[in-house]
Amino acid sequence: MSWTFESVTEGQALPPFVVEKLTRTDLVRYAGASGDFNPIHHDEEFAKLAGNPTVFGHGMLTAGFVAKCLTDAVGVENLRRYKVRFATRVWPGDTITCAGRVVRKYEADGEHRVDGEVTATTQRGEMAVTGTFTAALPARG
């Protein structure tokens, strides 16, 4: 069940979402789903010619994993704003942990809102994505 306004406190963590060992198939599936066919994400030869050790994940794929972590807590249609910044890249074999927390709880425009921060971190401890969000939560009244 997703959160209600009353059930949430400032500082509360989002339940983490972990993607174990990203595969090249995951990257190809996201390319097809999203329509982002930049070959740097699926063509080994192209990625190497561009100076990379291998193909790497679409930033928006990681942002999609983070969005799943986020909407599991706040509910899909309660999200009002979601912003991500891309830091380091993720590679096949990486395990990505999505997490976040509520920073602020308030009322605005007749809605019960929370602002928060989200992150996606690799098993090396590197930040792949950092972001912020605003959601409007259901309230008893």
């Binding site: 100076g51 050790p53 928006m60 942002a63 986020l70 899909v76 891309f86």
Partner: protein
């Protein structure tokens, strides 16, 4: 090096159309490993938060969202992506979108050369003419070729 036609900054480009389909939502949800059963339901299927990225299937190239700007793709990084959700987007919606370059900033790179930051914005309206979302992205053309 970026070519910039400043007269086009802020000008909306041509409109395009995007159909929101239940099958595409299910495919996209699977790709981002989101098992939320809402994405598999047969009616009023909600679009996942980053689903608007599938606009790539409905436009010639994502570069079309940057009016008046020509960038060197060998030096291009995706810096930020932002979604503002105004109304729900669900399977069956037919969205009309248009894009503009909101702003272009240039600064000197640490090791010489110019870095260009391009902020693009796409507006989405539904079949009732209501704005449903804005999508904004920051593209960065680095001073040097992107290193691995």
């Amino acid at each position: 090096m970026a070519e910039i036609d400043r007269s086009l900054i802020g000008q909306w480009g041509p409109e395009g159309r995007m159909c929101v389909e239940a099958g595409k939502i299910a495919e996209f949800a699977k790709a981002v490993k989101d098992g939320n059963p809402a994405y598999a339901r047969p009616d009023a299927t909600p679009a996942p938060p980053t689903f608007l990225m599938t606009i790539a299937h409905w436009m010639g190239s994502l570069g079309e969202s940057r009016q008046g700007i020509k960038l060197d793709y060998r030096r291009l990084l995706h810096g930020e992506q932002e979604f503002e959700y105004v109304r729900p987007i669900r399977a069956g919606d037919v969205l009309t979108f248009r894009s503009r370059t909101k702003d272009v900033l240039q600064k000197e790179g640490k090791r010489g050369g110019t870095m260009t930051f391009v902020i693009g914005e796409t507006e989405f309206k539904n079949q009732r003419g209501e704005v449903v979302a804005y999508m904004r992205n920051t593209a960065i053309e680095t001073a040097d070729a992107v290193k691995g």
